[in-house]
């Protein structure tokens, strides 16, 4: 089988799978990164969403052969320690019910918050409208994104006070 090198969560990672293997199965079966979920296999539910070069991407439809040299972020790499504002907000507001679809929601929401630090309800609906949640935590998902925006804003404000320390920490995370 061919060896492909993928750039996952800041690390070059060799993965030994067939070229046509969707990223989803390379992550889950070959690399043990099972946080990215299988829901439909057809790009309809969003459970498998990861970031490729920062853009929300359906891992179930994206073959590894299309990803050489591109930076991939999965839920496991959203933050080094579970402290991304979205992760904090999700725990604080008890957003998940079963939780199975949440990784996909979180990854899409992370891209939204990066591009629109104070999103409106309409922004959130547009960014997450392609995701399904069968337990129907939608209202908390929306509230969670708003809460994460607040946390993010507070962290940015605090980082201006303690800029040198923060810069050192973020460099430590690797590129």
């Amino acid at each position: 089988m061919p060896d492909t090198t993928l750039h996952i969560n800041g690390h070059p990672t060799r993965v030994d799978v067939a070229d046509d293997t969707p990223l989803l199965w390379a992550l889950r079966d070959a690399l043990g990164l099972v946080g990215t979920k299988f829901g439909c296999g057809a790009g309809l539910c969003g459970a498998c969403t990861v970031l490729v070069e920062g853009q929300p991407t359906r891992a179930c439809l994206t073959p590894v052969s299309a990803l050489a040299g591109q930076r991939i972020t999965t839920i496991e790499g959203l933050s080094p320690d579970g402290s991304h504002p979205l992760q904090q907000a999700w725990v604080e507001l008890d957003v998940p019910q079963c939780g199975y679809c949440q990784a996909g929601h979180l990854m899409a929401a992370a891209a939204l918050l990066r591009d629109k630090p104070r999103p409106t309800d309409a922004d959130i609906d547009a960014a997450l409208g392609g995701h399904l949640c069968r337990c129907a935590t939608h209202l908390r998902i929306r509230a969670g994104v708003h809460r994460a925006a607040e946390i993010q804003a507070a962290e940015i404000k605090a980082s201006r006070v303690a800029l040198p320390a923060r810069r050192a920490a973020s460099q430590g995370e690797g590129a």
Binding site: D29, C45, D94, C98, C101, A103, C135, A136, H138, R140
Partner: protein, 751 residues
Amino acid sequence: MSTGTDVGRRRFLRRGLQAGGGLWLGLSWPIGGAAAGAAGEGGQAPGQPGVAEFRPSVFIRVARSGVVTLVSKQPEIGQGIKTALPMILAEELCVDWAQVRVVQGDLDPAYGSQSAGGSTSTPVNHDAFHRLGATARTLLVRAAAQAWGVPEAECEARRGQVQHAASGRVAGYGSLVARAAALPTPEPGEVKLKPPHLYTLLGTRVSGVDNPAIVTGQPLFGLDVRLPGMLYAVYEKCPRFGGRVRSANLAEVLALPGVRQAFVLEGTGNLNGLMPGVAIVADSTWAALRARRQLAVVWDEPAGPGENWSDHVAAAQALGPKPGAQTLRRDGDVAAALAAAAHRVEAVYEYPFISHASIEPQNATAQWHEDGRIEIWAPTQNPGAGQNLVASTLGVPKERITLHLTRAGGGFGRRLSADYIVEAVAIAQHVKAPVKLTWTREDDLRHDHYRAGGFHHLRGGVDAQGRVVAWQDHFVTFANRVQREGQTQLLPGSGASLSGDEFPGRWVPHCLIEQTPIECRIPMGPWRAPGSNVFAWVFHSFIDELAHAAGRDPLAFRLDLLGMRELVPGTGERGQPYHVGRMRRVLQAVGEKSGWASGPLPRGRGRGVAFHFSHRGYVAQVAEVTVSRQGELSVDRVVVVSDIGAQILNPSGAENQVQGSVIDGLSALSGQSLDIRDGRVVQSNFHDYPLLRLPQVPPRIEAHFLQTDFPVTGLGEPAFPPVAPAICNAIFAATGVRIRRLPLAGQSLAW
């Protein structure tokens, strides 16, 4: 006593000894005497100085470090039970939630029933969990009092410590482990439950215990299971229910990259069990999925043409006006009462088969060990059923089957069935390695155990004073032909049987309720609030029709229909009493909270009301909708008032269940429908089986609770049934369009 229970007792005992002679409480735990037996045989061992932990019950472990580990016995499917039940133990134990670690228990007879169905996890365990936690706390206080030589009454448990105020002494629970473990079980009278006004945890908003793992993508779910040397399987079954494998191109499939094995399973005749099919086992999920595209199977289909939904609709239309096969209730003279009624309404209500569509498809992982033991990892709501089905299908004694419960990515009743578990075990039997079976979304939609469709032929009569005097329903439902004791019989699907007691049976003086099954080969199973999930829509829509026919306010009409009695007894030995007073009070409350008295909204907007009693919960709802002239619906607000007893264990979880039920109800109402053609389900994935998406969700869903003196109960189901009728009644108020067929998709609401 059965072998299984004996084995359970021995395992139970062994663990006690491993724990260093920890003691077992002979509490009245409903597990066939296993706990009491273990206490009698193995309990009360002396507390050696080296004892590692204090285990006052199978659910509680106190370590020397002071960390308290609580075992979650019930399956977690998103209903929040892994948080709620341990909260009860922690409350009674008087420990900080931050000091608690919750672990998922395996299937174990020592835990009692572990089925998470019928919203029973809370009511079945609630009282016992209070006693277990309080008993453990009693022993810790006693241990400290004895160590200090002071009266127990002077000691108090607080935040993981025992305190003696008079002397200022304090002992952490960890330091009391050895002494507490050596104490005998207290007498029941010595154990005092904490008075509710002193609760510090129950009734507060607690975030789910697995949330930190969920938001960081840690392995939790069935599909996340990984074992050394594990192989990956897919399983192709006949798209027409009941078909068997005649032949398949197995050699061709076996030659494909990554494929290790390809073989036929003969299966059984049980539509809800191990169905025949072809297994492909490969090095990766993708290799198995890709190979499956090349799989060609010739099926032996059941004789004759396959069934069609359109034929069932026609059959139901023909059956409706005829007498029913079965009379479920006959009070008074319905024909005469209808003839004499001042207002008469006749209508047919129709709803389709629907699927569960949890986002985690069905899956299970199984391993046959060389000594004959079977180990299973599965997202299941009913692990005991999985063990039973594997044992009966494959002829393996139950005690050789270990089942580990994983978190489940949604349940909704689907995972009360165990077909996917027995498939994984049967496949693993052929493979000398652990195997993970993954269903695709298409497998999941086309091989579900569906919520049955149905047809209700209704007639109602209201007298000149606006009272319902006549009610007639001929329910045409679906049944499978099954073998029972050498005979075949028609068995209606789960939730596909009506009770003669179903509201407003028992309330209307002239009442006739009949039922006729149509035979089908479609597998059926429980779907969130079985029966209730759609009966409430039928009956509260029709009650609304009667209210409007009589020119009455729909809420006042319902209050009159309920009447002023406090309790209406059930009919016959198995009939359930209906607490009218509880329902009246939630109905009155929802009127107040929703502003019902402010009167009708302008045309194009409307309010609708409905209520339903199911799964021990009394729930009333008011929906507010806007419908454009072109017929675009938006649900603006849903107000929910529930009476589920004396204590809301975790208000955060309870609110999640209510909001989730409302959105789920609107989702099913809006677009979910399965077509059946030639014995096959047509729909295949979320493009033709849509779930509600974020932009369509009602912006305001209010969850109110009337806390009453009644026993504490669960909330996974009871908030679901009133959603669809409340919304449909609001649509009628807004537009004059009465919805008598589900789903809304394809029907015009234009006005």
